[in-house]
Symmetry: none
Subunit: 191 residues, 4 copies
DNA sequence: GCTTAAACGAGACGGTACGTCACGTCTTCTA
DNA sequence: TAGAAGACGTGACGTACCGTCTCGTTTAAGC
């Protein structure tokens, strides 16, 4: 049992920093975001930040993808409908102002920092794949999804297509595109 | 017709710099790549580089994705076979040592620099979509591809899935993964 | 009263930089003196230097003309003797290796940077005119110096003549020249 | 006899460059004056300039102190009057807009470039000392100037005092200052 | 009138330093 | 020991100017 010694950390700093980070990411991109600016906006100091997160990237990752309660994948009754719902969730996750500003930068840092890589993956897979195993199992039993389709493949497709589309042609991601893409993925995994 | 005036640029510098950049990207990642180091390796100077490319990102983009001769999409006779071939090409394009090192960084800079965004897209779409229109048209006529599938959708799927897989779990991208993914995409666009 | 807050500056850096600057000025001229080299020699960094001095010129000025203890103008009993002593001091001040190397460059920067101009003048006048007012007063009372001679005029003459001679014909500044010039100045201010 | 071969130099370029240099020195200081800007203003090119002058400093030196006709030192009848006239001439030479802007810079370059040093001295001594030998000789014969006073000493005093005063307190160089200084110098050389 | 050779404009070149910026760490004082 | 403040080393950024070079073109003098 770890005994806490000395002055305890002020939990208000944690949230103030996360909020400040998300706010600032709504105003500038990842590269122009400085830790000094975050500290100032949060009314704290750089060392207090580095005591909590090992690097700017880790902080941003946590600010952009906060740990949230899982909500069950609602069953719409059809494969297409369920895929459409998963897409909507993934899309929502990736298109908050903070996520839009931070994602490219995080991707760059991921490639260099393996601890960030791991953290980012875990957080992501957690959120996106939650309930996916069960859903796939059920759909497979109904004969609607091929046996060899793996959860990771579905995430690759969902997240990969949305991510690439977001960074290359965000202006064309309308309802029609969502529909076409859902149809594409649903057929891709169908028996 | 633009008339050349003044001392012409030394074309050997262009190629030496591009080569040096690609070489260095085989040794370090994008962030650790300095323009000074490129200049030194290429036997030239920083100003000579900035005279040719507006930023490090533009230079890297050109070094990593050189303009190449287009080769026709070979028809294997089946949709699946053709998709598998397109995947192989896209995969090859994205997994040169230089591309692996540079891609995350380029994605980050793309988000900030719109001229780079445009340049990168043009280069990419050029290479990947070459012949795709015709191929889709033909496949559509044979009744193998749905009418609403667009070339851009195919590129999103191909490049998006491969890119995300590369930056998240490159170690699992074996032949089996390529096969499953080709199957997925082929079914996704099929009638 | 200013309260010090945050990490205090390391005073060893101040002195190491000043020493390094003076040393390097003994080896090269002002123009070839780079801030990078100073930082390296002093075992510190460029930002640490620019935190302390607003420009290379301000740093050099302080390194070349350090604030020193004032020593009284010793009275030799005669106007000529006292002038000769003042000349010797001015000459010593301007002919340290660092001063010889730096002075022309400082003069050039003075013309451009008004803050440097002010700083350089203050330092100079401080050192050269210290005790001069009293000396002139005394000499005037003895009837040896004309009433209208001002301290600034004496400094102009002393420093101006020595400076111009130094930059135009340093090789001829022997004892005889010093004697002739002291005689010239002593007569110039005499009643 | 050197035979001219090839296209002769365009003499209009010489004068256009000198004029442009003097003009620009009325607008900025020596350091901010670029050879590119001179070439542009003169409607010519950098190589044409470097064909004529070995460095920026040499060009500026010639632009600021053009070779002029010597005018005799007018005898005012008194030592003081003659010295006052010499001061006026020296002052005029050093206070053209171009000279004011260029002098500090030239002094700095002089210290580094020995060919410039020589050129600048020759030009200066030529102008200032012209007729001085004769004048001194005459004054000496009249018993008004001490035997050991040398022409170079007079130039040191005249130019040194004016130069230092110009770069340190130009705003106080009024008629009264000129009078006091002429008196000082006249007494300094008097028997 | 043709040849010759250098001057010309434009601008690229290598070199070198500039002053700035942000990162993540360290050091001080205070709570 | 946390916290605020801010200095620290590191290392790269993009810019500026120097004086030289390499082009293609123009200009005069000599044959």
């Amino acid at each position: 049992m770890m005994v806490e010694i000395g002055r305890p950390r002020d939990p208000r700093i944690d949230s103030a920093v996360l909020e400040a980070t998300a706010e600032l990411l709504g105003e500038t991109d990842y590269a122009s975001l400085s830790v000094d600016a975050i500290a100032k906006r949060a009314g704290t100091s750089k060392p207090a930040i580095y005591r909590r997160w090992p690097s700017k990237a880790h902080l941003v990752h946590e600010a952009v993808f906060p740990v949230t309660e899982y909500t069950e994948l609602p069953s719409t009754g059809s494969t297409l409908g369920d895929v459409r719902e998963m897409m909507a969730r993934t899309f929502a996750l990736l298109t908050t102002p903070a996520a839009l500003a931070a994602l490219p930068g995080l991707v760059a840092e991921m490639a260099v920092d393996s601890t960030l890589h791991a953290a980012l993956l875990e957080r992501f897979v957690d959120v996106l794949s939650h309930g996916l195993d069960d859903w796939l199992e059920t759909a497979r039993k109904r004969g609607e999804v091929r046996a060899e389709v793996r959860p990771a493949d579905v995430i690759d497709a969902l997240a990969g297509i949305i991510f690439l589309a977001l960074i290359t042609h965000p202006e064309t991601l309308d309802e029609a595109w969502m529909d076409r893409t859902a149809e594409f993925i649903a057929r891709g995994i169908s028996a």
